[in-house]
């Protein structure tokens, strides 16, 4: 009981208004370095991703870019063990969260996913639930019990952090599915934040959204960085340049498994790429 209480207290301590947090981001920095070591992936025996190693530093935004079908999304789904829920999917290598392999025998998949949240390409709020219920749905799924007041606080905090609070605070009881696409996506971000993940994976979170909603979500990502580690898959190179500190470029040659061509600081990847293929891609010559 005390453990559960403390979870929600942490969260509340984390709130105290957006402004206070912005001035003092360092105190709320969460642990959460993710490191992939020689990760490979197969679908029904076909190798689709080969020997990917990448460090995703804590409290930073890492962007994964590359053309379609190069394994970015597969790689992302390996990072929170969603890959294994696909029939016929296999993987090799290790993924370390703060030095511990998330695929180790003693690791429980539910616990891993609680620490590593995910936002999908297509907004997927639970349509049968209200906006408020959607935000705290993860707590029920993770069997975290909270009092009614705490629930209200969590809803406000998370919606504030995802930049949706002012738009929906007067209609928390209305269905989450009635929101616009961009609002739904921010609701999904709020929902992912409610379980206090150390890492947030985003799989092309803006590809189904209009430019205005994309802008708001990018703002949200920037405000979240410094608090949680973010790994974002994107097709949009400008977006990667705008929001990320680190970038990894994925590429798959025809009929070959995908892999990382080059990774490093975003500035370096975009301004001074070492590999000619990276240069071609970031300058829009293919893909």
């Amino acid at each position: 009981m005390t453990v559960k209480e403390s979870t929600s207290e942490n969260l509340f301590a984390d709130v105290q208004g957006r402004h206070a947090r912005r001035e003092d981001t360092i105190s709320t920095v969460a642990a959460g370095t993710l490191e992939a070591i020689e990760v490979s992936a197969w679908f029904s025996g076909n190798l689709v991703l080969e020997d990917v190693s990448l460090v995703m530093p804590a409290s930073k935004v890492t962007a994964l870019i590359g053309p379609s079908g190069c394994g970015k999304s597969t790689f992302l789904r390996i990072l929170n063990r969603m890959h294994e829920s696909t029939p016929g999917a296999q993987l090799g290598g290790e993924v370390l969260l703060d030095g511990e392999d998330i695929y180790a025998r003693h690791q429980r998949v539910t616990e891993v996913r609680k620490r590593i949240g995910m936002v999908f390409q297509k907004p997927n709020p639970f349509p049968a639930m209200s906006i408020g219920e959607n935000v705290v749905a993860g707590l029920a799924l993770a069997h975290v019990k909270v009092s009614k007041e705490r629930r209200g606080e969590i809803i406000e905090t998370c919606l504030t952090r995802s930049g949706l609070w002012t738009e929906v605070k007067d209609r928390l009881a209305t269905p989450g599915g009635a929101l616009s696409g961009g609002q739904q996506q921010r609701l999904c971000i709020a929902r992912a934040l409610a379980v206090e993940p150390e890492i947030l994976l985003m799989d092309e979170p803006c590809s189904a959204l209009d430019p205005a909603s994309t802008f708001v979500i990018e703002q949200t990502i920037q405000e979240l960085s410094g608090e949680v580690t973010i790994v974002i898959v994107t097709h949009n190179m400008q977006q990667a340049a705008r929001v990320s500190e680190q970038t990894a470029f994925f590429l798959a040659a025809q009929g070959e498994p995908g892999g990382i061509v080059e990774s490093g600081s975003t500035a370096q990847i975009f301004d001074d790429p070492q590999d000619p293929r990276t240069a071609d891609y970031v300058h829009g010559r293919f893909g």
């Binding site: 969603m82 539910t110 609680k114 995910m118 639970f126 749905a137 799924l141 189904a208």
Partner: protein
């Protein structure tokens, strides 16, 4: 006159602003033939169903004239004493169907959830065919199963229920369940045992409807629940059941419609008794369909009319239940809200 008419027609044909245009659909010949024949078949099916209802309705007019409203209040079915009514059999019909639903629906739902959520892919297809096969077993075999295999065991369950839950009126039996030599025949041929046997026949139907709806649960919502550290059961609770609610209700109602009309199993197991009884564990009872099947062979024309009237009542009830079920299933394609 005709010369002035032709250009005027063309004038009307020309699209004008703010007025809807008539558009030629231009169906091809094969489309028109197919549309015509499928419309014809559809109408034919409706006409057949409608004529069944009409026939039964017309046949029941003499009975309603003769007995009036007492047809619904009289419990006895004794044509020789001019006492005919469906009060008892109507109650019996509903009771058997409700027992079948109470036993069958939880089983069908667990089965559907196991098949869609837990079963490995190979087992899944195997189980789907097995359940479909359950629907293909002739009802007479379920009757034999119920009489020779189920009943000898179910009477112990019936006695146990009356021992511990006998204070609830429906589980009461007129004999002493705790007697050293308990009266076994009091617990056989009951609504309860008949209902269990009928439940086996409604499981495949209910399971198929529920499975269909559960399978349609959007992948995005499932993954959302999984990514929020949900267990498989968490996914079922948060996503699958809310999405499939219409299918659960609709499947149950379709099963209810099926159970209301089940005949041969009832005829084989239940011992006919024409009094309104709520004690489902006790021997004796009757349903409309078993009444008709049992008395059809040696009925006089007046008795036949009475049986057809009972059939008409059953027809109206099952039609209503099925119509309601179909409406619920049709309206339940939830999850549409998640589309953007």
């Amino acid at each position: 006159m005709s010369g002035a008419g032709a250009p005027q027609l063309l004038e009307e044909d020309r699209p004008t602003r703010g007025k809807p245009r008539t558009i030629e659909r231009g169906l091809s010949r094969s489309d028109r033939v197919f549309r015509g024949s499928s419309t014809g078949v559809g109408i034919f099916v409706l006409v057949v169903t409608g004529s069944i209802g009409l026939f039964l309705g017309l046949q029941s007019i003499p009975t309603f004239r003769h007995y009036g409203f007492s047809f619904f209040t009289q419990t006895n079915w004794q044509p020789e004493r001019d006492q005919i009514g469906i009060a008892a059999v109507l109650v019996g019909t509903v009771e058997v169907a409700l027992v079948a639903i109470c036993v069958g629906i939880p089983l069908a739902m667990s089965l559907a959830l196991f098949i869609t959520e837990y079963a490995p892919r190979k087992l899944k297809s195997w189980m789907v065919s097995a359940v479909d096969l359950m629907a293909a077993v002739p009802s007479i075999l379920y009757g034999l199963w119920g009489f020779f295999l189920l009943q000898p065991h179910a009477k112990y369950l019936a006695r146990w229920l009356s021992q511990y839950l006998g204070w609830i009126p429906i589980f009461k039996v007129s004999t002493d369940p705790n007697a050293a030599v308990w009266q076994q025949s009091a617990y056989t041929s009951s609504v309860f045992i008949t209902g269990i046997a009928v439940s086996m026949m409604v499981i495949p139907l209910a399971c198929a409807v529920m499975r269909g709806v559960f399978d349609e649960t959007p992948m995005g919502e499932r993954e959302a629940a999984l990514a929020l550290s949900g267990t498989r059961f968490g996914v079922i609770r948060t996503v699958v059941l809310p999405f499939g609610r219409g299918g659960i209700i609709g499947g149950s109602m379709l099963a209810l419609g099926r159970a209301l009309g089940e005949t041969i199993v009832v005829l084989m197991i239940i011992s006919p008794a024409y009094d309104i009884k709520i004690r489902i564990l006790e021997a004796g009872g009757q349903t409309i369909s078993a009444l008709i099947a049992g008395n059809f062979g040696n009925a006089t024309s007046a008795q036949l009319s009475a049986l057809l009237t009972a059939g008409f009542v059953l027809f109206v009830i099952t039609l209503g239940v099925n119509f309601f079920a179909a409406t619920v299933i049709r309206k339940s394609r939830s999850g549409a809200l998640t589309e953007i």
